[in-house]
Each structure stands twice: as structure tokens, then as C-alpha cells.
Symmetry: C2
Subunit: 123 residues, 2 copies
Amino acid sequence: MPARSRRLTQAKTDSARRSPCPVSCCLDIVGDRWTLLVVRDLFLGRSRFKDFTASPEAIPTNVLAERLQRLLQHGLVIQAAASEGSKHLGYQLTDKGKALLPVLKAMKNWGLTWERGTKAALH
Amino acid sequence: MPARSRRLTQAKTDSARRSPCPVSCCLDIVGDRWTLLVVRDLFLGRSRFKDFTASPEAIPTNVLAERLQRLLQHGLVIQAAASEGSKHLGYQLTDKGKALLPVLKAMKNWGLTWERGTKAALH
DNA sequence: TAGACATGCTTGCATATTGCAAGCATTTTA
DNA sequence: TAAAATGCTTGCAATATGCAAGCATGTCTA
């Protein structure tokens, strides 16, 4: 898919939702094995493409590129200069994206309680 | 896959995890578009195969069967008589499964706050 | 107690997504 | 200004999803 038409692709409309359930709707956006790990990394202060690929789960680059586009489309992240005066872009959470913190915390707590050998990185 | 060998299939071991991160580990189990909707339905008191397929999101039956097996393998649900004296089996959340309630609540709140037109079914 | 219907799946198949490796234009560093 | 790093894209094989049909077992009705 070329960049321009990707940019013009509409964010998921109400009619594209499986149901009006807020849980279902949330899963339509972040319901896969990778998206919330990218959001976790954003909370950990990572912002650049390379940073996300460096996480221990090793997300494939094509999947990462697609997920970042989806997060942009749904307004969970924005792009901004990666650092002062740099032409490289980084990604940052919007308020909508930051609002997923309780979801990540709940998952963190669940994992720590019920799955042996897990260890938290997110505080 | 025959029923017996499916029963004998090991739950995901530490080595099968992508990383020791509790969030990643949680997503290894429930990180897809459907599993948490099944868990939501279980919280809503639904317990039988037919009940899950009747939800508005309309999960395909083969996907539902696979997800229920995964939830059984990971100990998030158990099977029990669907009703008094019935030979039909239903599914119920274990404590481990019930511990996902904060995750669902966080997703519900996020959806209600950030996605227009969503409406809660889970209380 | 026989037939009809409901339940709880399984199967087959087309399509979509994922994972892996390689490639490449642009930016930054030495 | 050449070399390395960055931020992706592309191609392809493997896996997962979605849809429709099929079917064994259980339950209900006459």
C-alpha cells in the first residue's frame, strides 16, 4: 500500500466495529499479540522504530510498521522529531494512548500473579 | 487434532514465551481479537458454546472451539455440568480467569471514554 | 420410543495475517 | 565524503481467520 493512500485510509468507523461493546471496540484496535507491547515500550520512554525492534519480544519490522500506522490512524500516537533538530521522527503517546495505562497495569499484575517467572519492566 | 492428544498438549512453557515480561506473557495467552470477548461473556454469566456464538460479535465456531481449549489448557476456565443433572458441559472461570476482570474493566473504561458510540454490557 | 430438533463441536477451503530475511533510500556519524 | 545506522518496504512461506457445511450426541415431543 502506497504511503498516500494509507494516510487517507479512514480510521475504523462505527460500522466497521464488530459491536458497540467498549471491550470489543478496544480489541478492534489493540487486540493482537503486538500492539500493546508497542504501547508498553512507548510508556517505557522508547520512541523510535529501532527501539521497538530492540525489545526482547523481537517484533518483525513489517508488523511494527503496520501497527504504528494503526496507532497513528486511531490517534493513540503522534509523530514528533525524535530529538532536538533531528530529521528522524519518533512516536509519542497521545492522551488517548496514555489512557491505556490501566490496561497495561492490569495485565502486568495478572502476569505477575498468575504466570511463574514473569518479571516487570513497566512501573 | 484428536481430543486426547489435544488434552495432553502442554500449556505454554517459559521457553515458549516471547519474553519474561508479564504483559507479553498475558498477551501470549489472551492477545488476539477473540479470547477476551469469550472471557467477557463468561463474566456475563454465559457458559455454553451456543451462548458464546450468540454474542453480537459472532465468533466463528472453529475459533471459539480453539480459544476454549486454550483457556482450559492455561487454567483460566474449567468444564462443569451446564445445569443440574444435564450431560451438557459448560465452561466456568477459575480464579485465574476471574483475575482478568481488571483488564476487562480497564478496556471497558477506555472504550467508553475514547470511542464514540460504545455502550457497556459488562458491569 | 421414534422421530425431530438442539447442542457442541469438526472439517474443508478461501482469504488475511504473521514471521523471516533481504533490500534500500535517507540520515547521521566519523 | 565514505561508512554506518535508521526507518522502513518487499517477497514469500507458514499460520490464523472467517465462512459454510457436516455430524455425532443429547434432549424434547408425540
